[in-house]
Amino acid sequence: MDLLEYQGKQLFAKHGIAVPSGEVASTVEEALAAAERIGYPCAIKAQVLIGGRGKAGGIKIAQDAAQAREHADAILGMDIFGPRGEGPFRVDQVWIEGGSDIAAEYYASVILDRGEKKLLAMVSAKGGMDIEAVAEEDPAALVREHIDPTRPFTAAEARPIVDAAGLDEDVREQAAEVLARLAEVASEEDASLIEVNPLIVTADRDVVALDAKVTIDGNALFRHQELAEIADTADDPQEAMAKEKGLTYVKLDGDVGILANGAGLCMSTLDVVAQAGGRPANFLDAGGGSKAEAIVDALTVITSDEKVTAILFNIFGGITRCDEIAKGIVEASSQLDLKVPLVVRLDGTNSEEGLAILGEADLPNLQQEKTMLDAARRVVELASQPNPRAEL
């Protein structure tokens, strides 16, 4: 789960890391009132889960009330695209914070290094810019050091990293303290990525986190109630519905609805449908051990996307039992009045029982295929026929 900048900063503040004080607002009037309380100059920052906000016009400095109104009006409701064209991300909230006098911009991060199975701390004196470019053009400028995940990481241990990065000498102690606190956020809040860019030095020589990118491990939310309450911004109606029902669903822009079990098989199903000339409408992993009710929920979510003209079920049962899937399909057909054709491929645990259940139900708009490739070809063929829903 990714946190918005202001949520990340609140987490930093909880762990004693200096952040500019500010307020969150979702209307122009709220933003203006916040700016008046904070004073000028102040920064008005779009709260979206994507990098490159500044370049996209999502961060503006207001020198007075008129500018605060103008900028808040421009930013709230705008669509921001990521540096690689991701999005659009609609701006529903802005964060207003006091302007900072910046003497230097650094970079600091603590992330999970999957390969080394450790946390990795990184510090650079070259902050405030694209850190990937820094890493590529001047690798020595980005100092990296692994952290032992089995015990706390202290400021004294952080100091050599800060020294090696060549930060201004008078702020190294503060910066080392910040790095130790970032590691504390990682281990105590179950954050797998914490990135501060820029970590600034103010004119008064204070070290302050001016930005916050934080990813919290979704598996650990059970032990972080406050974080669990932060709803991930799933603006899309199908994604919101799926989340409510506990399904892993990602909306795409095609017309072939996809349901598979297991993330790997589901990804592979998207690939094979694309190879067959089709365009997947979604990614939906029904997960391990899916029960009949989960299938009803999944079909409800898939068919609520009006672009969907045919649906492919690709199930290979391990922990998932094919008879449960088949019961779910039959149940969904009686509850949902499905108007689009279903292509079903069931294989694996209890597949014979599952196929028998489907055979007995004899659903008019259901076709079975034996292999994944045949099923993909068939569903692409059906999806390209005139949309049965459009004729109604």
């Binding site: 690689r84 990118k213 598996n219 079990n261 993330a263 098989l265 990804m267 190879q275 391990g288």
Partner: protein
């Protein structure tokens, strides 16, 4: 031969009294795996279909000589259960549970490493050595004994490819699901080493997916250390680009983690990569038959 599980395996299942634990534990037993014991704290002295239940894994090791542990307990209790298994005296721990916090696994990973215990998973389907033993949730009916070793991040994709191999008349030495979580006990390289040393394995199929750089690392290892042919499949070419948060992940791995990048890294080291599970199985069969 085969790797990790075989006729010497004496299995103890943590969570055998639960619904999924008993379903799959007993399936493993029915396949021929020696199911020595189950463990559920507070239920010691009971039995599941005649299999004795103990309060701790250590007791199961002492009383029933168990040497392999399977973890089937709910996510929030799973890391302590794995830790218990690591300290119990078994040589192999296979963790099926999905949804374990990654920091818990980070600490557990190093515990296993220090204790010299082989940890497979979590969030994996387990290990099957056809004709010998099955530990986990892999549906064994889709795999015959044979010469192809399979190592995979994905459960269902593994079944898919194994099934294609069977239909083509080929079987497997062992099928190892390493799990797709960010931190897993054994990665591609650990299992490639075992297959390289296993005389029964003549060809290795490796199934990866987007995220991390385990496939890129494996490509380097294959070029340097593996003499047997390796065929790969990568899932996720049309996967939607995730919400990009920060760039630190790409910096450490030096890779974007995309399916395309992984395919290119493998092909650069001479590993053939199939376009679909079916094509991957076909390439494996062709290569094996020369």
């Amino acid at each position: 031969m085969s790797i990790i599980v075989d006729s010497e395996t004496k299995l103890v299942v943590s969570g055998l009294t639960g619904r999924e634990g008993s379903f799959h534990g007993l399936r493993n037993q029915a396949y021929g795996t020696y199911l020595a014991a189950g463990v559920t704290p507070g239920k010691g002295g009971q039995d599941v279909e005649g299999v004795p239940i103990f309060d701790s894994i250590e007791e199961a090791v002492e009383e029933r000589d168990a040497n392999t542990s399977m973890i089937f307990v709910p996510a929030r209790f799973a890391a302590p259960a794995i830790d218990e298994a690591i300290e119990s005296g078994v040589h192999t721990v296979i963790a099926i549970t999905e949804g374990i916090p990654v920091l818990d696994m980070l600490r557990t990973y190093w515990k296993a490493k220090e204790a010299g215990v082989r940890l497979i998973g979590p969030n994996c389907p387990g290990v099957l050595s056809p004709g010998k033993a099955n530990v986990g949730i892999i549906p064994a009916q889709f795999f015959d004994p044979g010469k192809i070793g399979v190592v995979s991040k994905s459960g269902t994709l593994t079944y898919q490819i194994g099934n294609e191999l069977k239909q083509a008349g080929e079987g497997n030495s062992s099928i190892v699901g390493i799990g797709g979580d960010p931190i897993v006990g054994s990665d591609f390289i650990d299992i490639l080493k075992l297959f390289e040393a296993d005389p029964e394995t003549e060809l290795i199929v490796m199934v990866g997916e987007i995220g991390g750089d385990a496939e890129e690392r494996a490509a380097e290892f294959i070029a340097a250390e593996v003499t047997k042919p390796v065929v790969a499949y990568i899932a996720g070419f049309t996967a939607p680009p995730g919400k990009q948060m920060g760039h630190a992940g790409a910096i450490i791995s030096g890779s974007s983690g995309t399916a395309q990048a992984k395919k290119e890294a493998l092909e650069a080291k001479g590993v053939r990569v199939g376009e679909s599970p079916t094509e991957t199985a076909q390439i494996a069969v062709e290569t094996l038959r020369g």
